[in-house]
Subunit: 279 residues, 2 copies
């Protein structure tokens, strides 16, 4: 069951004229919440604000969004997920928008997914998706509501696979349907270059930062399917699952290596520290 | 003012959980209506059904959609615009969808735009947009709700320009923000190849058909900005404006040529015939 605030008011409905519905004209964030604490909230709001700026959508006062989140999390003592959506709001027919559009903000709380604990403990089963990511440097990195590629890729997973890896039209593996990808190749941590497509996850940023902090060599570059299959270890990351080890990619099995374990420990510590700092 | 039916029931609101809003997970059509008659309705529904099939969204019985349209157009004696939207419906958080999702259909009537008569009489002022179209053969041709590129391009028009032309990342001019493009080059009718991106308009299909019928040589191929600027005449088409002559593209002025006039006459005749056949 979802609990939803729309522009700060409890509601389950949005105007049919909203441009988020008509054009995907908006941005979103998915935030892990521990009790009453939204994890890495500043970074989520920074990314959302940056995306809104690129789309020329006016960003509400941060306190309004924080108030929405706090309202939904009040008294909460479990894990949950908050999804924030900011659209350009309602408008007349046609792609053009008014200079003074009033955006619509949605704050939606969902239950913590059952699968996360199992995935974190046992690792995940993955495949390569046939669905390709568009090349569009302008939209790259914007966590917009135009997400049909992710939808099409996710239908390739079926019951058997937990996650699938998408490539761009040049054959570079870019990201999972809902996660960023890391591989350990010759003791170097490699993660795909996302300058032409893909979304830079908040967890991805932390993992890159942890690597720097711990003198782990890291390369942000193109990586093809073959190289990924031959790597020593693979893991994925997103805000809800944190870091999750890939135990199987297509026909190849992988074990958890020491580098991945070390990074995961450091990441969990950062998540705890973030929650404590807010408390 | 809009009049709206959602799943056949008058309403101005949609569920906040709808996947059309969250992911642009749906398709749409914009239909010109003459009095009680939706022009070229069969072709619009064919394209919508084809798009829905590619996205694996179950398509409602056509009669349901026709009933919606007829209900909104009842007693109407003016021109108006019907926008149809079909989304995958509501779902849980996450890109994955259930195999038995119940789609949501929206039928929305808007007033006929004031600008159309003026544009048809005087032609339009156009520019090249810097916004690029993504290359994605899988999504090409699907009139989906992922339309951020059109939104970004439309903001380049300002008050001065009526329409803007988008190129793909290889520099081929593909389409207008809301229209298809035709050029007369050495007495040959040329229209961009849309196999890698862009949407094949219903009017575009009719114009191609009219060219074949009248032994006008037509080429569907790549066209660059320079060639477009040097062409004898340019026009654009969509379901609401029909055929509209480009009088200005960047610094270049164009006159209406005889081929364009002939095609426009034939197109108007087809639109009238379609309305009469239904009456």
């Amino acid at each position: 069951m979802n609990r939803v605030l729309i522009n700060g008011i409890a509601s389950d409905y949005v105007p049919v004229t909203d441009r988020g519905l008509h054009y995907g004209d908006g941005v979103f964030e998915t935030i892990a919440c521990v009790g009453t604490h939204p994890v890495f909230i500043d970074q989520h709001l920074n990314r959302m604000q940056s995306g809104a700026r690129k789309l020329d959508i006016s960003f509400p006062a941060r306190q309004l969004i924080l108030d929405d989140i706090n309202c939904l999390l009040r008294g909460n003592n479990r894990h949950s997920v908050i999804k924030l959506i900011l659209t350009r709001g309602s408008g007349k027919r046609g792609y053009r928008y008014e200079t003074k559009q009033i955006p619509m903000r949605i704050c939606m709380q969902s239950e913590w997914p059952d699968t996360v604990a199992h995935w974190n403990e046992h690792g995940i089963n993955t495949r390569f998706c046939e669905t390709q990511l568009s090349l569009n440097p302008q939209l790259s990195g914007i966590k917009s509501l135009n997400r049909l590629e992710n939808v099409l890729a996710s239908r390739e997973l079926g019951a058997e696979f937990n996650e699938g890896f998408l490539s761009d039209i040049d054959g570079n593996v870019i990201e999972g349907t809902m996660s960023n990808i890391f591989a350990v190749v010759n003791d170097v941590l490699v993660t795909p270059d996302l300058s032409r497509c893909g979304i830079m996850g908040i967890m991805r940023e932390h993992i890159i930062d942890i690597a720097h902090e711990n003198n782990i060599r890291i390369e942000i570059r193109n990586i093809k399917r073959d190289e990924l299959l031959q790597s020593q270890a693979i893991f994925v990351s997103n805000s809800v699952i944190g870091l999750c080890v890939v135990k199987q990619l297509e026909q190849h099995s992988f074990n958890t290596d020491t580098m991945t374990k070390m990074i995961n420990t450091a990441l969990q510590k950062r998540i705890e520290t973030d929650a404590k700092a807010a408390a």
